[in-house]
């Protein structure tokens, strides 16, 4: 990505042999069988894969919302995959996450949503500064400052995701995780979100991890793309590598073909 210097040896997130199972009515389902992946500081890594394949599960491990059954998650040199790590740890202050449906707090206005963590982490911060930050972040996501007083129920799906991004950026994270940022949006709104992901990386110099099955979005925002298939990362490469690879599973996914045999290699 032009303008962003990425050191291939400076890895900010490492997933080492991650395993995770869930118990369902049909028994144990091993979602992640052996996932190993390294994400470099400052890059945008896109993880692609089929629905229900465990992409969001990987994100939730990165930010400590889930603990692995095996393997480890290392963020900025610290192993965070222990049950008690997040008790008192500040690693989360370095990370932000944009949820699939925005996950805005329904009982708060847009402005309160954006400023919630800011106010709580900085007690005594002047209200003038908070208002200024809200206005700046709303401007960044191309929304009028008047939106600060609106409630989440008054916003469209795309607007909710943009406000969610503004809320994430309010705490100035070093890493932003995006869970299906363009799912359910029309192509034009999706492109607005894609541009925001790129602008965020450039302006704030953040490391981004994007989980998606939208290949248009993946090719636009990615520095590198990883593919998750049947609980394993089976491919990691640049968007150009993805286009030219002979890996039949990657080609099947990129072309959106139902049968593996139909892929010409």
């Amino acid at each position: 990505m032009p303008g962003v210097q990425i050191d291939p040896n400076d890895e900010i997130i490492q997933l080492n042999h991650l395993r995770k199972s869930f118990w369902t009515t049909e028994g144990e389902q091993q979602v992640l069988q052996d996932v190993s992946l390294s994400i470099r500081r400052g890059e945008t890594m896109v993880i692609i894969g089929g629905s229900g394949g465990g992409k969001s599960v990987i994100l939730k491990h990165m930010i400590g919302l889930l603990q692995p059954d095996g393997g480890e998650v290392v963020v900025d040199g610290k192993v965070i995959s222990t049950p008690d790590y997040f008790d008192g740890a500040t690693i989360r202050r370095k990370m932000g996450m944009l949820f699939q449906m925005g996950a805005l707090f329904d009982s708060m206005s847009v402005g309160e949503n954006i400023a919630f963590a800011l106010r709580e982490h900085n007690p005594g911060i002047p209200e003038d500064s908070v208002d200024e930050i809200i206005a700046r972040l709303l401007g960044l996501i191309n929304l009028n400052p008047a939106f600060a007083s609106k409630m989440p129920s008054e916003l469209s799906g795309g607007m909710k995701k943009r406000v969610s991004l503004a809320r994430t950026l309010a705490v100035e994270p070093e890493i932003v995780l995006y869970d299906e940022p363009t799912t359910g949006l029309d192509p034009i709104t999706s492109d607005v979100i894609n541009d925001l992901i790129i602008d965020t990386q450039h302006q704030f110099n953040v490391t981004s991890v994007v989980v998606t099955h939208d290949m248009v979005s993946a090719f636009k925002v990615a520095d590198r793309i990883a593919m998750l298939y049947q609980g394993h990362i089976i491919f990691v490469g640049t968007p150009e590598d993805v286009r030219t690879t002979h890996n039949p599973y990657v080609q099947q996914f990129v072309r959106g073909q139902r049968k593996l045999e139909a892929v010409a290699v």
Partner: protein
Amino acid sequence: MATNRLPDPLLVLDSLGEITIRFVRKSFSGILDGLASVGGVLVMCGQIMALFPKALQRPDSVVKEAMRLGVASIPLVFVTSLFVGMVAAFSAKYQFRDMVPLKYLGTSVAKLVLLELGPVLTGLVMSGRIGSSIAAQIATMKEKEEVDAMSVLDLQPLRYLAAPRVLVGMAAMPVLTTISCFLAIVGAWGVCVIGLGVTSYTFLSGTRLFFSPYDVFVCEIKALVFGLLISLMGYYHGSQAAGGAKGVGEATMKSVVSSSVMILLFDFLIAFLLLRQSPT
């Protein structure tokens, strides 16, 4: 032609063994799950109580919950308590018949309302009003990933979601129960004066006859404990919800059922502890 083959005895034994192992494993895992839930609730209760001072640092959210859970419950308490008092008066009069002087009608109603009907019925009604409301709200927030979003922002859900609600639950129940007891006695008084031929003086002097402040103490202790149980069960089951709308419905149902059962259980425990001996 169908053959009627008997199963191999070893296969039958094998199947029986497997069924037995499954049954034992399921039973034990059920018991272990139950114990884990109780342990989880107790730990959560301690964590939430430790966060009360921090919850009070955001008085606006506490006041908001107090209005939503406490003040908004007053009309329901008003209606249920009046009727409970009226029924209590009729019931006492029926049981007294000509054997007990009517001057004890007020005594009977006041004791019954203060020690049992007021706190227990208010608790049961509020488990449906407050507990279900908390469970449904938290379960919906969990389903919409709002609880995860809070954790990701390094904001403890227990501090911002649980502590204000449990605090309000514990504070609101004694107030609501006091209102309930007063209204139940008013209801009983109205029925006695209008429908049962008991004078106002007879009824009111009866209520004062064996009145003990200790009864009020027991009543308020019960209300406080029931308030904790209702709000805690609401939050716990809401936070455990999974599976979309079905999960929200189940969380709400479990919250009401578990808090109702626990109210009756703790009603007995408190009575056993505080009412075994007459106050000196």
